[in-house]
């Protein structure tokens, strides 16, 4: 974690740069950062956490900047706000000491994944001699891992992730001046939801998209990001429907290929293969100063989807037990590291967009 001096430096640098932007205003049409900036007389250090999470590093402003390096002003808003954005993830983490985890998210994610895989796989195979046998029909998964164990582990880890992110969101919202009335406001919610669902700001203000490696506009990042987000949401929906099936309707998984949970999960899974792969490809091509945080998230989402498909395809063979354990190991690691990795950008960005909607009706 950067020491206090570095922290002050990155914030001070962002304040300085945004002060130049506010006297220029040429980028006003690009994204929410610059639209909102024009309402400020003076940019202060306390405003930076808000702007940092409104920025999505599309780099349109950098390519259009008359003051970008090598100009002596050296303005580079994407870099400055990325540095402060990553700092804000650590600052608002809950519990507070967990903020240190962000700095080494890649390493921590790998270690947690390895431990989860070993535990789930090891315990399954070791405790249950029937795990390596072929099981089919309703309840087949629970012949490998007992229903209660699976549900309890998933519920506890996911709830913890949600709780941690909820507390962080509250602390962040309070810090940037978002009140509960702003959140429970129909117009604000509608505009924020629309901005997120359509990823409007990744359209570059003109719809042609943002910059990648050069000054040309492209919508690639917007589409890959949409595939990732919608993929994740579809998988989440699949899980919810499956839970209703099991607890409400008494139908046990695995479900038929044409059932709603499998269809939703498969569509979502495709999104989670395509989206993260595309985003990783784009990221690899551009010289990106952001920390390795998004690599680990992208890799995790991709792997969860891949192992999910493998499980679906070979669920009627004797490999099912091992595949189930591996899939659940990745899911468990994902849940555990959820509040301390790139996933949180969606939370902070959502809160920042609520404030933007409130202040820019």
């Amino acid at each position: 974690m950067p020491d206090a001096l570095t922290l002050r430096d990155t914030t001070a640098e962002a304040v300085q740069m945004l002060t130049v932007c506010n006297a220029c205003r040429y980028c006003e049409g690009y994204c929410a950062v610059f639209q909102d900036l024009s309402h400020y007389r003076k940019v202060e250090a306390q405003d930076i956490d808000y702007f940092a999470n409104l920025c999505h590093h599309c780099t349109a402003c950098l390519h259009a900047c008359q003051y970008k390096p090598p100009h002596e002003f050296g303005i580079d808003i994407p870099r400055a706000l990325t540095a402060t954005r990553e700092q804000s993830y650590a600052d608002y983490a809950w519990p507070k000491p967990a903020g240190d985890l962000f700095a080494n998210h890649g390493v921590i994610a790998s270690v947690v994944t390895a431990v989860c895989l070993t535990l789930v796989l090891g315990m399954t195979m070791w405790l249950n001699p029937a795990a390596a046998e072929t099981h089919t029909g309703p309840g087949a998964f629970y012949a490998v891992i007992p229903h209660g164990v699976m549900a309890a582990t998933g519920l506890v880890t996911f709830s913890y992730g949600l709780l941690a992110m909820f507390v962080s969101a509250l602390r962040y919202g309070r810090s940037i001046g978002v009140r509960s009335g702003d959140v429970f406001n129909y117009a604000n919610l509608l505009r924020t939801t629309h901005a997120i669902a359509s990823m409007r700001h990744l359209g570059g203000g003109h719809g042609d998209g943002c910059n990648e490696t050069d000054a040309a506009y492209t919508n690639r990042r917007r589409y890959f990001h949409q595939a990732t987000m919608w993929g994740f949401l579809l998988c989440f929906a699949a899980t919810c429907v499956a839970t209703i099936y099991e607890l409400g309707l008494g139908r046990l998984s695995p479900f038929p290929y044409t059932s709603l949970p499998v269809v939703l999960g498969s569509l979502g899974g495709l999104g989670l293969l395509l989206g993260p792969a595309g985003l990783a490809w784009l990221r690899w091509r551009r010289d990106d100063p952001t920390s390795p945080m998004d690599w680990s998230l992208l890799l995790m989402l991709f792997t969860i989807s891949l192992t999910g498909f493998a499980l679906m395809l070979w669920r009627e063979t004797s490999w099912m037990g091992a595949l189930l354990a591996v899939h659940l190991g990745f899911v468990l690691a994902f849940f555990l590291t959820l509040p301390y990795g790139k996933f949180v950008h969606g939370i902070y960005r959502g809160v920042a967009l609520i404030k933007f909607a409130r202040d820019n009706p």
Binding site: A23, Y26, E28, G29, C61, Y67, K68, P70, G205
Partner: protein, 464 residues
Amino acid sequence: MSAPFPQADVTVIGGGHAGLCAAISAAREGASVTLLESAPLAMRGGNSRHTRNLRARHDGPAVTLTGSYDAEEYFQDLLRVTQGATDEALARLTIDESASLLCWLSDLGVHFQPALSGTLNLSRTNAFFLGGGCALMNTLYEVAETAGVAVFYDAEVIALEMEAGCCRSLTVRYAGATHTLDTSSVVAASGGFQANDAWMRDVWGEAADNFLIRGTPYNRGLVLRALLDGGAAAVGDPQQCHAVAIDARAPKYDGGIVSRLDCVPFGIVVNRAGQRFYDEGEDFWPKRYAIWGRLVAQQPDQIAFAIVDHKVRDNFMPSVYPPVEADSIEALAAAIDVPADTLQATVSGYNAAVQAGDYDPDALDGCRTQGLSPDKTHWALALDEPPYLAYPLRPGITFTYLGVKVDARARVLMSDGQPSENVYAAGEIMAGNVLGKGYCAGTGMTIGGVFGRIAGREAACLTR
């Protein structure tokens, strides 16, 4: 040494808005085009990289423009600012073509946006480039390269071999060597000479050393010099230029838009002797800021200070450099190195002359002084609420108006009145034909675009 450049029908000198419009238009006519830009890639685009809009005629809402702005109104606006120092035929041509220029740029993929906040009354007359001039340049360079234009950066044209109004070869400094480039036709779009210290000193004397150049350091006027020396007819007064009062702390070059200060109408402006010298409240700032460069240039050491007090500090756009602040006029005088007694006397005299009125920063209000020389005729409020703020002002030169004379086909006219056989001009190097003096926001980019397109088309046709 033979040139590393491909043999081309049309050579465009200068990679700003005018040069790119010329290159694209020539390439689309089927000509092979080489474009020589004296700046490196990162600083390409001349002064255009600092621009943000162009002024266009339109009969109804167009792109982002509201209402209508007809040719006659446009011409009257131009006539007013230039006080008649314009070639009417070329001015009317520029205005007529401005409408199709807007559509042409839009079709090329240039994005426009509604007028920016803090730009008074421009949403009807001026179309703003989304992201500003650099974004415009990015799009036009991409279009040019796609159309087959061979672009060379760090390629400075230092001489044109002119013979009887015809240019057959250019001397180019490129990659550490001097090259000769043969060409069938040339479009000169290399701007004015404001970044040429020696030339500026010739025109302005030592005062030029205190001028700041708002735009590119690459507009050194070498091509303009070569054309004039080669027999081209000159247009415009060498002293005429777009000169605004900007923050004295801005860099010598390339300070661009953020060096502007909008505080002048809300306080007083004194020279380094502590004395006022012009009506700060004559008109809205966007209509007056272009005369203040010249006013400051005429003051001792070419410096002045705008002074406002606390109550009006939020009436103008935020500045990039913080003001000098002090709790008394004496302390402020010390901080800006102006004689305290004179400044105190100026402020006291001004405060005593302020008449009662309804202050309204958004209107030509009734707040004025009575009995001062010069009086302040609007927005005159007593300077009496500390802290007092001072912003140092220097002349900021955008571009010079001395240029080559052209005809309606963008051909450079020689001193005998005959058009050059194969040399065309576009942009700031010939803007003086239309803008003899004064300035009308966004006109420079319109002239560059209109004459760039014409020059490119004509130069391409020549080689058929």
